[in-house]
Symmetry: C2
Amino acid sequence: MAEKRTELSDLGEFGLIDRIAEGIERQHSSSVLGIGDDAAVMDRGEEYSLLSTDMLVEGIHFDLSYAPIQHLGYKAVAVNVSDIAAMNGTPEQITVSLALSNRFSLEAIEALYAGIKAAAKDFKVDIVGGDTTASTSGLIISISVLGRVAKNEVVYRKGAGQNDILCATGDLGAAYIGLQVLEREKQTYLANPQMQPQLDKYQYIVQRQLKPVARMDIVHELKEAGVVPTSMIDISDGLASEVFHLSKHSQVAFALYEDQLPIDKQTYDTAVEFNLDPITAVLNGGEDYELLFTIKQEDHKKLEKHPDIHFIGHAQALDKGNLLVTKNGNRVPIKAQGWNHLAEK
Amino acid sequence: MAEKRTELSDLGEFGLIDRIAEGIERQHSSSVLGIGDDAAVMDRGEEYSLLSTDMLVEGIHFDLSYAPIQHLGYKAVAVNVSDIAAMNGTPEQITVSLALSNRFSLEAIEALYAGIKAAAKDFKVDIVGGDTTASTSGLIISISVLGRVAKNEVVYRKGAGQNDILCATGDLGAAYIGLQVLEREKQTYLANPQMQPQLDKYQYIVQRQLKPVARMDIVHELKEAGVVPTSMIDISDGLASEVFHLSKHSQVAFALYEDQLPIDKQTYDTAVEFNLDPITAVLNGGEDYELLFTIKQEDHKKLEKHPDIHFIGHAQALDKGNLLVTKNGNRVPIKAQGWNHLAEK
């Protein structure tokens, strides 16, 4: 009898996570929350500990032919810190594991670590451990981050209530459009190695792709404003995908207003140059690492003057579905496209 | 001017770790101990948290042509738990990150997770998170483990004093000799695929290689006996290498007695069959995941009847050097050979 073989690409990353999570039973009362949010939550008596981990694989998540290795180190830390920010927590420690082939010299690894250390300083985390090993091909970076949060300030993906206001920080779609620029320049270079890359006019969006920032500033400012979001997630796979996560966990649906979606002029202009719809880039472009969260109506006035928090929609009954209200008033269902790593290869 | 290029193989893993650790400054008072022990130590008020991480790479750490993927999952958890045991702590949570190529089906990943879940049950840890991504080649498993330990019970690599007794648990060299058996069977199979592997008489040592056990039982029994070791490490790279770590951190040297080194009969006989020196296997064979620790002289009587703790040497002044006292009374300097992953490829 032939062995059954189910392709991972048919399941996708989230389908696989659901299968893996099946039958996992909690053995420690300290394990408050496991798989299914941006970070795990552990009870430490006075407060909660937060633990999250992310892996970056060469050829899947990054391409060293255009990503400076120092920026890559920075990014690897930022994406982990972003998971702690998404729980409204403060990161404190990271471990850094590397698998590297003999293609990498000591100087390359020191450059990688220069980026890791710069991010550790910017986001105030201590590098407390890790593992370094050989790899048969390419570079793999696995970082785990430990953080903390007061018990009455932890924010989950669940918790959004009807009529809560949906907020997004910064601007969206930039990292995705920046990636298109980098890919085009790479092809141009491969076709003609004499050509120098023309990146000046794309500086902002390229930076957003290569060296993203975790929004710890927002976490601190929310605290100063006395606002605890009712739900939160970081925007790593694209706005639409994250809206669906908040929707599923909170059992509400969201209406998003097209004219409120934050997009930088450089992102918009470059999307048009590439014949891409800017709103699609905002909805489905990943890797912005901004925060998406909901607040109660009465907290709106505490944040309305914040220059970098945008009120992009509101929560409604689940059966209304997640939808986009276009500029001319049409209501269009949103599809969660996200980025299926497992289907890519 | 040519860019300087230093090969990682010239530095080795420990040399690289030293270079990386340079210039790392602590930003949080909660970071009690960082790089340089089996786990990082964080202050949580009443107690310490412990954090460690290990990465297993296909083609470097394991070969799926003879390692059943379920055992591999078990081993990946065990080697992490072993790091918490080496701090005299109790593991509680793990995160599991996987990078996988499309060679792997859902069924293969479920088998891997069956092993991970079995180990999680055996060692009483909760799987609280992780990351799953594609890989351009092969399987990479990165696990992080979070544990806890009472502040007055934490054990570091430093702390051994002169005249302390050096103890090792279980038996040593088995995992290394088991690997030789597996490699030989693989070659035989490649030469003639009709041949079935003959592993029955090597069952114990093959199991030691494929499915090692973290000695949490010893951690609990030390506590019951009222013994807090003065220093401890787990034996992952080989006894000699770990003796050097304790020596360096504690600033003492060790005398080991050849006739006290614990070796299983199957290990001994098979080493001889392979024309390998059994004592070399004990000293330099890795992956046994036993514990190596020192106790004060007065604690000897509390442990002398323990069937699985062996008193293999004692601590002496650093300038005497680490040495082996052979059966006929010769004193031979020990060399830390260990396993330099970075020089292997």
